[in-house]
Amino acid sequence: MRVTIVQGLEQAYYNLVHMIAEFLPRLVVMVVIILVGLLAAYLLGHMLRAVLRLTKLDRVSEDAGASRVLRMADLPSMTELLSRSIFWITWLGFILIGVSVLGVAGLQEQISRLFRFLPEVFIAMLILFLGLVLANFLSRAALLASVNAGVRSPKIWSWSIRFVIWILAISMALEELGLARQTVLAAFSIVFGASMLGLAIAFGLGGQDLARRALERYLGNSAKEKYKEPQPL
């Protein structure tokens, strides 16, 4: 009886020592990978920051209106944002590789799933960024065009364009991530359809006079209202 207990304890001790002996080198390897990853991430981030400063990305971002949106969201400049992103993405990649070295069952599957998901996250972020830039550019163009054409309430057109592009970009990004595909599609259809229907009703019922005047002007029946200014050249 005593012998059996002692043998059991010895076996457990032996197993523990064996596990620790097997685990410790892996832990050390993981720590080394994480530290190397930290160094690589720091270097990559630093290099990217230098390259982006050289290419004056912040100016392009300012021009496209993306910087203003970043400021509104209390985010750093575009150069800083991309540099920090690359730092964290690189380091996170190394951390996940390090963790996978531990060989913990079940964890590896989760990690590989996360890796498979990363490209979709990047594409979704890219779609959002491009949508942001496009929305800003087109809404500014619409604002300028409507102000210069003497359209009443020019900001309505500008904001409408911005809103539609944002909705479209967000829907596309969520679609890319595969999150609640049906819900997103339905929500987009409802929002877009409702906006169009609302505009049609507003113009049809509330703006009958406006519609008539616009048609008259378009058909040339109201030449007296034509705005005349001196020839510039």
């Binding site: 912040d58 100016r59 300012e62 021009d63 496209a64 209106g65 910087s67 203003r68 400021r71 750093p76 400049s77 800083e80 550019f137 500014r140 163009a141 604002l143 300028l144 065009a145 102000v147 210069n148 054409a149 003497g150 020019p154 900001k155 034509k226 705005y227 005349k228 200014e229 001196p230 020839q231 510039p232 050249l233």
Partner: protein, 428 residues
């Protein structure tokens, strides 16, 4: 040398059958075939009467506004139709050539075709006329060609007699800026008619800028500035009255500003060394009076103009904020709150504002086309103020005011240089 591959086989065939000429006149195509015929008639008449012994050719070029001009040129390099040359005195054949394009036509492409043709034909002088100008006469063509052909001038700019409230963009912006920065007093750099020597033509033909939008849309200004900055001989010649286009036929103000001011800012960018080194301004030789205005009553919707200025300043606040300095923006926002009677857009503020626009264009603080469009409501404010101030002014008073404005532009030139050289602040 002309890039012969750029010209179509048909055009080359026509040019080869013409041989060499002394003078070439280019007619940019127009949407009305009647006005094309009229312009071609005046050009031919002028050449027959005034350049009797010279070898001459006329080239009709599709400049991007044609609907029906196919019947205007006889083509094939054959002598022109002499239906309207009876009783005239030319001793030589007048050749007529027609050029069309497969691609998208533009004034820049049309000018390039004229320059290439001029180079191949070894023309000593060349004039460009537009059928859009309803008052074109045979004298106009002769007056344009004479200084380039007989007096060895390289660039001949036109001068017109206008209504005092026409050409206000040229009077308040284009002329004063080019005069202050490039140092020569040429009033009409943005015009439909001009002439040039083979020397300037060859120089421009060899420049690699034909794909640039400002050159595609307003090639004449680029050509004029090229002459100014290359120390070539420039002059002005008085042509006569230039009536405004009939109602609705004139180009849209926004489009005009995009083309002219966009082109001017681009020229400042591409010739920055030249204008930075230039000091003061000097007159250029002028044939005929150097300004003439008429003052018939004119119906204008000034109230709407003022409203559009106020709306623009209010709605475009964030855009103007990125273009103008806080002080200038505050001053503009200040005058935008005034009532119509007390509103004045002073020369000093106008010049400061324009120079800040030019510097912001250089630094690309926002999309450049958007930047130029943001100027439109402010221009309307300035014009409203101008119309109010000079409603009853005489020609002499207007000329004095114009001179004062030009001097203000010259006085503030160091401010532009300073803003131009300063690095743009990018908010992080």
């Amino acid at each position: 040398m002309a890039d012969e591959t750029f010209l179509s086989d048909d055009l080359l065939r026509q040019l080869m059958s013409v041989g060499e000429v002394d003078l070439l006149v280019g007619i940019l195509s127009h949407r009305s075939a009647n006005s094309m015929r009229r312009a071609a008639h005046y050009v031919e008449k002028s050449l027959q009467q005034n350049f009797v012994r010279q070898r001459v050719a006329i080239i009709s070029v599709d400049g991007g506004a044609v609907e029906d001009s196919g019947s205007d040129g006889s083509g094939d390099g054959q002598p022109g139709n002499n239906a309207y040359s009876k009783g005239l005195t030319s001793l030589r054949t007048i050749h007529r050539v027609t050029a069309g394009f497969n691609g998208v036509p533009s004034p820049g492409l049309a000018l390039r075709t004229i320059l290439s043709s001029s180079d191949l034909l070894r023309a000593k002088a060349c004039a460009v006329v537009s059928p859009a100008t309803s008052s074109t006469s045979p004298e106009w063509v002769a007056n344009l060609l004479r200084p380039a052909f007989r007096d060895s001038f390289d660039f001949v700019a036109p001068l017109y007699s206008r209504h005092k409230f026409q050409g206000l963009l040229a009077r308040n912006l284009l002329y004063p800026v080019t005069r202050a920065l490039f140092g020569r007093r040429i009033r009409e750099l943005y015009s439909d008619e001009w002439a040039f020597s083979n020397r300037l033509g060859a120089y421009c033909l060899n420049e690699d800028v034909w794909h640039e939008e400002p050159v595609r849309s307003r090639p004449e200004a680029w050509m004029g500035i090229s002459a100014l900055t290359s120390d070539l001989r420039c002059c002005q010649v008085y042509l006569g009255e230039k009536p405004p286009p009939p109602d609705g036929a004139g180009p849209d103000l926004v489009e005009v500003l995009r083309q002219t001011v966009g082109s001017l800012f681009w020229l400042l960018e591409t010739h920055q060394q030249a204008w930075m080194e230039c000091k003061g301004s000097e007159v250029v030789p002028t044939f005929g009076p150097d300004h003439a205005v008429t003052a018939e009553p004119m119906e204008l919707n000034r109230e709407r103009m003022f409203e559009m200025f106020q709306t623009g300043v209010k709605e475009l606040g964030p855009i103007l904020e990125s273009i103008l300095s806080p002080e200038t923006l505050a001053s503009i926002q200040g005058i935008a709150t005034l009532d119509q009677q007390s509103f004045r857009f002073g020369a000093e503020l106008w010049v400061t504002m324009l120079y800040e626009f030019a510097a912001s264009y250089h630094h690309s603080v926002i999309n450049r086309d958007h930047l130029v469009q943001a100027l439109v409501p402010l221009y309307r404010g300035k014009i409203y103020s101008f119309l109010a101030e000079y409603a009853d002014a005489s020609a002499a008073e207007m000329e004095a005011a114009s001179e004062d404005l030009c001097l203000e532009f010259e006085r503030q030139k160091p401010y532009l240089t300073e803003k131009w050289k300063a690095g743009v602040e990018v908010k992080s």
